[in-house]
Amino acid sequence: MSLLLKLLAQRIALGLLLLFLVSILIFSGTIILPGDVAQQILGQSATPEALANMRRDLGLNDPPIQRYFNWLGGVLQGDLGTSLTSGKDIAESIGKRLGNTLFLAFWAAIISVPLAILLGLIAVRYRERWPDKLISAVTLASISVPEFLIAYVAIFFVSVRLRWAPSVTTINDSMSLGEKLHTISIPIAVLTLVVLAHMMRMTRAAILNVMQSAYIETAELKGLRMFTIIWKHAFPNSIAPVVNVVMLNLAYLVVGVVVIEVVFTYPGMGQFLVDHVSKRDIPVVQACGLIFAAVYIGLNMFADIVSIVANPRLRHPK
């Protein structure tokens, strides 16, 4: 057991270190961005004195290292600062947006992950035959088309022609869960198509790799059905690579959905980030970057932990 705990502790420590390094990267990255926040807030006609006062009030004249640690100290206490443009507390305004993004990502994942794994299993069962080829062709085609194009095509047919679901997907607290899901059904479908291929292909490849093992032959010689063999004997031994690619795609569903959010005017994190980049609202951009990084690192860390725990040699030492 001790080896397992040691590996897990190592992995978690590594994740935290990575997050710390990323915070430095985000901070220095936003500093070297062109543009001046004070100028942005006060407009072109501001007097030099007003600009100087503004900069002093915002702390823009302090040395970068000091600003970094002030910021980091705040973040560690849950204080992401105040927005330069709106003057509101960032944590509060992001909270709602993040909730929306996670809501969309959650439902897209609930549908796409089991579907991808099921399709992967079917592809293995009928490998090199028409179901396998059909699944590969469809999923590869859907990943090859840019997602905004799929989105607009889906809007045209599902929303404009058939009028099944809205194309503008603004949701709010007064809606019931059913209404919310109906509202976001097209973005969920488009996101599913986008992430399906990667997970399906990886499931297929990982299981096919295991299917070469001698213990699969043992299972065949026990007279088991092919699907039982794939599900009960092959799949448990290919969890590690599958979980890794699933987590990469989940991370994408959270941090990479900017395009979809913009197309469907969905009030999520991506759109929030894009808005504030154009306004040079540095504290908001930093906060968004840090949250995205945390999600990404956290999910990948989780994948690694699952891979470590899935290894029976580590879970049950001699």
Binding site: S213, A214, Y215, E217, T218, A219, E220, L221, K222, G223, L224, R225, H233, P236, N237, A310, P312, R313, H316, K318
Partner: protein, 545 residues
């Protein structure tokens, strides 16, 4: 049909081959084989690799491995031709009526599932027993097969038990659904001799107690003689001889069978030690990095010029580690290696080109020790260039000489390793080692992966070359028959220590220490009833104690 459990008639099996540079095409690998097995009887299928014995064994379960297809003939099990029945019936046959024990239990158990679940799976799935009954039966089998803690061993995962134990678990897996026939495919080949004898006895008793019939596949005639009623000798997919075990062992009719029975024909008289050994290993102690356990403990051995020191022991005894220390791959923590009148540096980086040249190595797996994209000429020519700077015609002349010495000839110079047989590959590796004109060659299990007749040829070649080149061999092996054939002196290793060391005659003559006695008495002998004799002797001894 009659009361024959298994009746195979004119079985033909084909496979698709993908030779380099040619179009894939179908070939026949089993050319019309017929045999039968009665209830409760054991038929031994024997032959060298490529004889088609595993393929035939699997055909009795209507199974073809990889691209193997059954192309003709009939396989009758319990009165029906299983090659013409439905898929559902084939599934009921596999794991129900006929079960399988593979060579490598370690690879054949699913690493992610508990042993008990895998042992009982087929019996439950085929509806033969309820989960509870199957588990009770499994525990009973574990006990019968002599596994430790039979009540709980099923709760372990495959990696938590030893190789010999896992092989017995595999036998339990095969016997659990109360099959009519078990196919044993080299079930003891991967085990140490001392483990093999226990597993062999367990299998034999299990067969006797359950009244199950069996196909016993092996390349080792001495092993099959202990468990079979009848023997079928196969060669390149053809039947050579088919008869009772007594007739095959004591009165073989065919030349090929005679060769198999009389293999190990080499006689090699022990040479007397010279005053100055070429290799002197003094007080070597070594451990692997990051561990706190000595894998070698105070080893002292000597090897004389032009002679052979056999280092013998089971897996994990430290014999290959000793080779790693001598070659500098694993620096020792204590002691010294004295070679050709000088002390060798602990690690590889500190050794001169001359040190490297004079100490060559040959490995067990000839095909992974050669670059598959280089021709035989390039492989043998490389040390000639590197150590002697030979080029062009001069180099070619020397390569041809070496190819003649290994009895292959200049015709092989442009061939690739993939175009050679296992024995030929090992010969090329020998030529490559000789090309450096070494004083000593370390041979690490060089014949273990080869068929007995081929291995015999390699050993003869090594002895002949020793006479011509006056080279010394440090011969690492687990096979005592090989040791008897070629050694001048022997070091028996056990758990990192040399437990017995001296001239061949002394080491192999009584009185023995306990371990050497166990090792020597475990080597299967080609006579009927040997297994029972050994087991009876051991029981008497332990009762006497």
């Amino acid at each position: 049909m009659s009361d024959k459990l298994l009746k195979v008639q004119n079985l033909k099996i084909g496979a698709t081959v993908y030779p380099p540079g040619e179009k894939p095409h179908d070939i026949e690998i089993v050319h019309g084989v017929s045999f039968e097995v009665e209830k409760g009887k054991v038929l031994g299928l024997i032959g060298e690799s490529g004889a088609g014995k595993s393929t035939i064994g699997l055909a009795s379960m209507a199974y073809g491995r990889g691209g193997v297809k059954i192309t003709g003939g009939e396989v009758w099990v319990n009165g029906r031709d299983i090659l013409k029945t439905t898929n559902a019936d084939v599934r009921a046959l596999r794991g129900g009526e006929v079960t399988y024990v593979s060579q490598s239990a370690a690879a054949s158990f699913n690493p992610a599932k508990k042993i008990m679940d895998q042992v009982t799976e087929a019996a439950i799935l085929q509806g033969k027993f309820s989960k509870k009954e199957a588990e009770r039966r499994a525990v009973e089998l574990f006990r019968k097969l002599g596994l430790p803690d039979p009540e709980n061993i099923g709760n372990r995962y495959p990696h938590q038990v030893s190789g010999g134990q896992l092989q017995r678990c595999m036998t339990a897996l095969a016997l659990c659904p109360e099959p009519d026939l078990v196919v044993f495919d080299e079930p003891t080949t991967a085990l140490d001799v001392t483990t093999q004898i226990d597993v062999l006895m367990a299998i034999k008793e299990a067969i006797r107690d359950t009244g199950v019939a069996a196909l016993y596949i092996t390349h080792d005639l001495a092993v099959v003689a202990q468990v079979s009623d009848d023997i079928l000798v196969l060669k390149m997919g053809d039947m050579v001889e088919y008869g009772s075990v007594d007739q095959i062992i004591n009165n073989p009719q065919e030349e090929y069978t005679k060769a198999l029975v009389s293999v190990r024909s080499i006689e090699h008289a022990e040479k007397t030690p010279t005053p100055e050994p070429v290799l002197k290993v003094k007080n070597i102690t070594a451990r692997y990095k990051g561990t706190n356990f000595d894998v070698l403990k105070n080893i002292n051995v000597e090897l004389h010029p032009g002679q052979t020191l056999a280092v013998v022991g089971e897996s994990g005894s430290g014999k290959s580690t000793l080779a790693r220390v001598i070659t500098g791959l694993l620096p020792q923590s204590n002691g010294s290696v004295h070679f050709a009148g000088r002390d060798l540096s602990k690690d590889l980086g500190g050794r001169s080109k001359e040190d490297l040249r004079e100490l060559q190595m040959i490995y067990q797996m000839a095909d992974v020790a050669m670059n598959p994209r280089q021709t035989v000429g390039t492989i043998i020519g490389r040390p000639l260039e590197f150590y002697f700077g030979l080029r062009g015609a001069e180099k070619r002349k020397r390569i041809v000489e070496l190819l003649d010495e290994i009895e292959m000839g200049a015709g092989f110079i442009d061939r690739y390793p993939a175009e050679l047989s296992g024995g030929q590959k090992q010969r090329v590796c020998i030529a490559r080692a000789l090309a450096a004109k070494p004083k000593m060659i370390i041979c690490d299990e060089v014949t273990s992966a080869l068929d007995p007749l081929v291995a015999d040829g390699i050993l003869k070649l090594l002895l002949d070359l020793q006479k011509i080149e006056d080279v010394a061999y440090l011969f690492i092996t687990h096979d005592l028959a090989t040791v008897k054939a070629i050694a001048d002196s022997i070091a028996v290793m056990y758990q990192g220590e040399v437990v017995r060391y001296g001239g061949k005659t002394d080491v192999l003559s009584p009185p023995f220490d306990d371990y050497t006695d166990l090792l020597l008495s475990s080597v299967p002998e080609m006579k009927l009833g040997w297994l029972e004799e050994v087991i009876a002797n051991r029981k008497m001894e332990s009762a006497g104690n």
